[in-house]
């Protein structure tokens, strides 16, 4: 079991990981060059590379990406704020849990996108509807994970609170937040990813405005597959960067916990 294999080296791992997409791209390029598939529909990797470089130089692309990120930030921040408040209340109060828990649990099973038509009528199909939708998407994981985190607080810590008659602020800062921290951060981490997903979804489904989702749909209408792929890569890259950077934040904030020290 413990013998070292050739693929255990860093280079081996990297090489294997790159081999699959590289072969795929190569085959795609060759088949496109030979004219076996229509290169004007199935944009070859080379054309995608050209599209990436032209998008990077296009101010419209950056404006759209910026608009999407700003929309994402607003909606996600609102959602986190709401989810955190509601989650804390739900986690601390058995009464609230008894009344709201089952309804919230059932509501969570309703597919998120079902709300889009309703929101577009009630809140409007413009910026308001989009940001509300993003906020709803982001609030759900925060709410549930926060509530769970608070519920997992150790009874002896809460006893300490009662014993020392700690005030609300001290209680939250010294006991609730550190104890429920991992749950809350897990929720926020998911919220950041959901928020980005919802941003793209909102830009597809609500009235067209600016944003990377509108940009990619415009390219689709022109059947410009190279631009579609370039935009798709940008959207994916933003998701990965958000994920990785929040993972770092999470580890940094939880560095004092024994179980997070690996």
């Amino acid at each position: 079991m413990n013998t070292r294999h050739w693929h255990d080296t860093r280079l081996g791992t990297l090489g294997l990981g790159l081999a699959f997409p590289a072969v795929l791209a190569l085959v795609w390029q060759v088949v496109a060059n030979k004219g076996i598939i229509d290169p004007s529909v199935w944009a070859s990797p080379w054309r995608v590379a050209l599209a990436v470089s032209s998008q990077v130089q296009d101010p419209q692309f950056w404006a759209d990406l910026g608009a999407s990120l700003w929309r994402d930030a607003q909606g996600t921040a609102l959602g986190i704020l709401f989810g955190l408040t509601a989650g804390l209340a739900l986690g601390r109060s058995a009464l609230l849990r008894a009344y709201f828990g089952p309804t919230l649990d059932a509501g969570k099973a309703v597919p998120l996108f079902t709300w889009v038509p309703l929101l577009s009528v009630w809140v409007g199909s413009g910026e308001g509807g989009k940001i509300t939708f993003i906020a709803i998407a982001a609030s759900i994981p925060v709410l549930f994970n926060t509530a769970e985190g608070v519920l997992s607080l150790e009874p002896r810590h809460l006893e300490l609170v009662r014993l020392y008659h700690l005030g609300l602020i001290t209680r939250i800062r010294r006991v609730v937040l550190p104890g429920a921290g991992p749950g809350i951060l897990r929720g926020v981490h998911q919220a950041v990813l959901y928020g980005w997903l919802a941003t793209i979804g909102a830009e597809f489904l609500f009235e067209a405005g600016n944003g990377i989702g509108t940009n990619i749909m415009g390219a689709r209408d022109l059947y410009a597959l190279d631009v579609v792929i370039a935009d798709m890569m940008a959207i994916g890259l933003v998701g990965v960067v958000l994920d990785l950077s929040f993972g770092h934040v999470e580890r940094y904030l939880l560095r004092w916990r024994e179980d997070h020290r690996t």
């Binding site: 058995a94 008894a98 597919p111 997903l197 597809f204 990619i216 994916g236």
Partner: protein, 276 residues
């Protein structure tokens, strides 16, 4: 519906923890969960009765019920549901057929894992919706688009949970099998199956719930039939009563899918609980 690895389902405990209640006494304990929905419904009915919100914006419960009956009677609802559920079933089968072997391969062969997993992760990480325009260019608005999207949504949790399940088999169990020189069949049936069934089933459940969510999204966006399309139609015709009725149908189906599988999961957990 997302590129997020997996979602936990947390059932908030509804039981009291023995704290004294000031308000809760009036309600029978077990019925307290009904208070919020009933209250919401009463608010809704009040608003409709006194026209606090224009009926065009928030139709009365009766209107929504009638719209539901009308959609059912005219056959639009049943046809749409049939189309959507068939899509769901087909896409789900594809997704599971891809996800289970992939998870298995990832778990047993480090070479294959290193070869494919980075590409798999890239596909997973690009939010599902961002694939839609790409697939629309390649496959148009037809069935293939929807099936691929659903299959991808299903495949993700199934693959991840299958791999995790196999890695999670306690080493002692396998040793036991070797020690007793169990035949491969008995090993599979007595050791591998009970040890992996629960986490694998969790993946299957998450996959189905996500598949339904994604199906609605893709039908809202790019479809000419199915329940999501009917929802868009009702929105465009500004028939909010039909829209709310359809939303309720989508919600109830999502809820039922989740609950039925969660129930089955608990059963499996009780039966094979010792495995984890």
């Amino acid at each position: 519906m997302s590129g997020v690895a997996d979602r936990q389902v947390i059932v908030l405990p509804a039981r009291s923890n023995g704290q004294p209640y000031a308000v809760g006494q009036a309600w029978p304990r077990r019925l307290r969960f009904a208070a919020v929905p009933v209250l919401l419904f009463l608010l809704w009915q009040t608003s409709a009765s006194f026209k606090l919100i224009p009926l065009l914006i928030l139709p009365s419960p009766l209107q929504v019920w009638q719209a539901f009956l009308a959609a059912g009677a005219s056959g639009t609802l049943t046809t749409a549901l049939e189309v959507s559920l068939r899509r769901l079933a087909l896409g789900y089968v594809f997704g599971v057929a891809l996800g289970l072997p992939l998870g298995l391969l990832f778990a047993i062969s480090p070479v294959i894992r290193k070869l494919i997993a980075p590409s798999f992760w890239f596909i997973v990480r690009v939010p599902l919706l961002a694939w839609i325009p790409f697939l629309m260019v390649l496959f148009g608005l037809g069935e293939a688009l929807k099936l691929i999207i659903i299959a991808k949504a299903v495949m993700t949790p199934v693959t991840i949970n299958t791999e995790r399940a196999i890695h999670g088999i306690p080493a002692g169990w396998r040793e036991l099998g070797r020690l007793y020189r169990l035949s491969p069949w008995v090993t599979l049936r007595r050791i591998l199956f009970p040890a992996t069934i629960l986490p694998v089933f969790t993946g299957l459940r998450l996959g189905l719930v996500q598949a339904w969510a994604v199906l609605v999204a893709v039908e809202l966006l790019a479809s000419s039939n199915g329940i999501g399309f009917q929802l868009t139609m009702a929105r465009q015709l500004f028939q909010l009563d039909t829209m709310l009725a359809l939303m309720a149908v989508v919600g109830v189906i999502g809820f039922l899918l989740d609950r039925v599988l969660a129930l089955a999961e608990r059963r499996i957990g009780r039966r094979f609980g010792g495995a984890v």
